[in-house]
């Protein structure tokens, strides 16, 4: 038969070490030392706090971490994570000094260079365009150089490369990935630079690109901003409205309290997302409207907790004492009751941010909350859903991002609950 494992008396923390230390150290050291006191919950809060700080940093300066702007078309469409775009690349003989297209430029009276391309592949167009662009710049230069390549077309990639090796053409422009597959067969050739496209993107994209060629990773980083804006603002607005209402209702406990509680309880029982859908549907899409809609949902959460605690604290002896000493209601509320509700409000605030971010993402997934120009995870998921058959990366990563942010805030709330309510600790 199993015997309960946890019957051994709990070991008390070593009273001398951390207590003596606590007396004369600064705030940060105090926080660190308190881990002996709180145990695993301290780590819970610490880890989630680091995550929260990280996300806030991302939200404030996304441009530092994101390789590209969120709305720029930086690459080909539907490029898988880690896959490289198939750019047209310049290939020359190993003994040639040319590295990029510009190096092929020759003096105006010299013979024009011949460049080979493969038939039926759009590399010739890219070559022409790029050469003309370079030529325009060179024309006005002092060196009198021009770049007007003669283009020679071949039937197969092999023939193209063979022509280069035989010296029939000076260089060829072929697709990079196709070239790399058979490059081993030609020992005397060397790959130069891609002739078009940003050379920075030649290595591919960490999390791939979406259906119009935006970088998924950059949009992910930028999306942190709107998620946190919605989470924080909605929770703050709800707190600012809900806490005073709860204090007032709990303290007065008259007919106003009963009416308010009825309204708040009804709202609390109602599915929040659906109420938010109604409000944003009427107000129209904008960040402010989403914040308003979500804030309205969470007022009852604060109201109920604060009211309940006010009712309990009001009966305490020290409140009676203050009243008999002639303290006015405002002062009692402010000095004796309000400090008691702060811990629970802090916990709800943290969990609330998590909830608000989830609700906001749900709204924008439904296409309701935010204007579609904003980089937002919910919008990205809704866009990606249409391409679920081809582009798994478009729906996988934004969802992971939402999960991590929500996890950070709810873990923090969880840890804070355990720390602020020692009675619950053994649960």
């Amino acid at each position: 038969m199993a015997i309960p494992q946890d019957t051994a008396p709990e070991q008390l923390p070593d009273a001398t070490s951390w207590r003596d230390e606590l007396a004369d150290v600064g705030f940060v050291r105090r926080l660190l030392i308190s881990r002996h006191w709180y145990g695993p919950d301290w780590w819970f809060v610490a880890i989630s706090a680091v995550m929260v700080v990280g996300f806030i940093t991302l939200a404030i300066i996304p441009q530092v971490f994101a390789p590209y702007p969120y709305d720029t078309l930086v690459g080909p469409r539907f490029l898988a994570p880690g896959a490289r775009p198939d750019l047209p690349v310049l290939v020359v003989r190993s003994d040639s000094t040319a590295k990029e297209l510009r190096d092929l430029a020759a003096p105006a009276n010299a013979p024009r260079p011949t460049v080979g391309v493969l038939l039926g592949v759009p590399t010739a167009g890219a070559l022409n365009q790029e050469a003309q662009k370079i030529d325009e710049q060179l024309k006005n230069g002092a060196e009198g150089l021009r770049l007007r390549p003669r283009i020679e077309r071949f039937d197969t990639l092999k023939a193209t490369l063979q022509a280069l090796e035989d010296g029939q053409v000076e260089a060829v422009v072929v697709r990079q990935l196709e070239y790399e597959q058979i490059a081993g067969q030609f020992s005397g050739l060397r790959q130069g630079q891609p002739i078009t496209g940003d050379t920075a993107t030649a290595g591919g994209f960490l999390l791939g690109t979406n259906e119009i060629g935006q970088d998924v990773f950059s949009r992910l980083i930028w999306g942190t901003r709107i998620a946190l804006i919605i989470g924080f603002s909605a929770s703050i607005v709800a707190l600012v409205l809900g806490v005073p209402l709860g204090l007032f209702a709990g303290y007065s406990s008259g007919p106003v309290d009963r009416l308010l509680s009825l309204v708040m309880d009804s709202m609390y029982a109602f599915p929040g997302l659906i109420l938010a859908i109604a409000i944003t549907a009427v107000l129209g899409p904008s960040v402010l409207n989403v914040i308003v809609a979500i804030a309205v949902l969470y007022i009852p959460t604060y109201y109920r907790i604060v009211r309940g605690q006010t009712l309990a604290v009001k009966e305490e002896l020290y409140v009676d004492a203050a009243r008999s000493l002639g303290a006015r209601s405002m002062e009692i509320l402010r000095r004796y009751i309000f400090p008691n509700v702060i811990p629970s409000v802090a916990i709800i605030f943290s969990v609330n941010i998590a909830d608000a971010i989830l609700t906001g993402a749900g709204l924008s997934f439904l296409g309701l909350g935010l204007p579609p120009t904003i980089a937002d995870w919910g919008i990205d998921l809704a866009r990606g859903q249409r391409f679920i058959q081809t582009a798994w990366w478009m729906i996988t990563f934004p969802g992971l991002a939402i999960m991590l942010v929500v996890l950070a805030f709810s873990m923090m709330g969880e840890g804070l609950t355990e720390i602020f309510n020692p009675k619950l600790r053994e649960r």
Binding site: A278, V282, L368, M403, L407
Partner: protein, 367 residues
């Protein structure tokens, strides 16, 4: 003529519920009777408040429903004519009275867009679909939640306990629509074993006789096995999505309550009598721990319905949630207002039912 599904739902669920309520009321103690009366009396203002909230959100906030429904092609005269027809030019109070009357008589008027059908008819096609999703999902959630929670409690502070706690934290942080998309990606696209959209295969669907519009019941009573199989396959992913998301809360609640119960004296006494640990946890402790869990089930209805809206959108499930989203993009304010009111009614009735069941299970709450 097919029976209106609303009438059918009422007959199937409402009549036994009413009979049961009457029975409890007649046979129960005076305390129980008083409790039930108070609770029913409290439901009325709750529905009233929610309906009013919906009305004022839809009517007082800026925006003209008719203009947005007609779009740019509506001339001012047409807009005025339709507004008068719909009674939108009447004083707000008159409209409010008419709206409340509509809620009581279940007559929400006609939809502003499409075929201008009565909204009740449209909803009676959609509501059974939502029921068909929500009921199995709740069962999945309760099964996982209650057994997972009890198991975690019995393995307290061991690996499986921590694993299940982690499960409930992660489940809480998952966006439900993302979980749906991931399941679609895995089972629908990668493995290609389950359908990812709709309620039934369209070819099989033509053979199904629609009686209740709850397809599984329709297929069962008409003995249409291919249809039943198709319906069941289509149900797997949406049910799993909604059920998994809900199960996290239940794991957590059950675990806490079972742990608390295990520490009480009667369990120690039972243990001293030599009752096996398994029976102790799953029979003695779980039964008592379920009492507080039942009340919390009532509160989870909100999560359930919000989750249903998103799940229906992800899986193109033609229920109330996707109807709501469709009508919002179609700017059909009358329909939106009605759907939200029906949701409010649903929430109020479920929480009423849960509270009454609770008062039966736990005699302590009757005051």
């Amino acid at each position: 003529m097919p029976v209106s599904p609303f009438a059918l739902i009422f007959i199937v669920i409402g009549v036994p519920a009413l009979l049961g309520l009457t029975y409890i009321f007649v046979r129960g103690s005076a305390g129980l009777r008083r409790y039930i009366l108070t609770r029913v009396a409290l439901t009325v203002p709750m529905v009233f408040i929610l309906a009013s909230l919906v009305f004022f959100i839809m009517r007082v906030l800026p925006g003209d429903p008719v203009r947005s429904a007609l779009g740019p092609k509506g001339s001012p005269e047409t807009i005025q004519r339709i507004r008068t027809q719909l009674g939108l030019n009447d004083p707000l109070l008159v409209q409010y009275g008419r709206f409340l009357g509509g809620v009581v008589t279940f007559n929400f008027g006609n939809s502003l867009v499409g075929g201008h059908r009565p909204i009740v008819d449209e909803m009676s096609e959609r509501f059974p679909a939502t029921l068909e999703l929500v009921v199995p999902a709740s069962i999945v959630a309760l099964l996982i939640g209650i057994y997972g929670g009890a198991y975690a409690a019995s393995k307290r502070k061991r690996t499986m306990d921590y694993a299940l706690r982690l499960y409930s934290v992660i489940i809480y942080s998952l966006p439900i629509f993302w979980l749906g998309l991931m399941l679609q990606l895995l089972f629908g696209v990668r493995l290609n074993v389950l359908p990812i959209a709709g309620r039934i295969d369209p070819v099989v669907g033509t053979t199904l006789k629609h009686v209740t519009n709850v397809y599984s019941i329709d297929a069962l009573i008409s003995g249409n096995w291919p249809a039943l199989r198709s319906v069941a396959l289509h149900l797997v992913l949406p049910t799993a999505t909604l059920g998994l998301i809900l199960s996290g809360v239940f794991v957590r609640l059950t675990r806490i309550n079972v742990i608390e119960t295990i520490q009480s004296d009667f369990i120690a006494a039972a243990r001293a009598r030599g009752i096996r640990e398994r029976v102790l946890v799953y029979v003695h402790a779980l039964k008592n721990a379920m009492i507080p869990v039942i009340t919390l089930i009532g509160l989870q209805v909100a999560i359930l319905l919000a989750g249903a809206v998103l799940t229906e959108t992800v899986f193109s499930w033609p229920g109330m949630g996707s109807y709501l989203v469709e009508r919002i993009s179609g700017r059909d304010y009358t329909a939106v207002q009605s759907v939200i009111t029906v949701f409010a009614l649903f929430v109020a009735l479920i929480s009423l039912a849960v509270d009454i069941i609770y008062s039966l299970v736990d005699p302590r709450v009757r005051y």
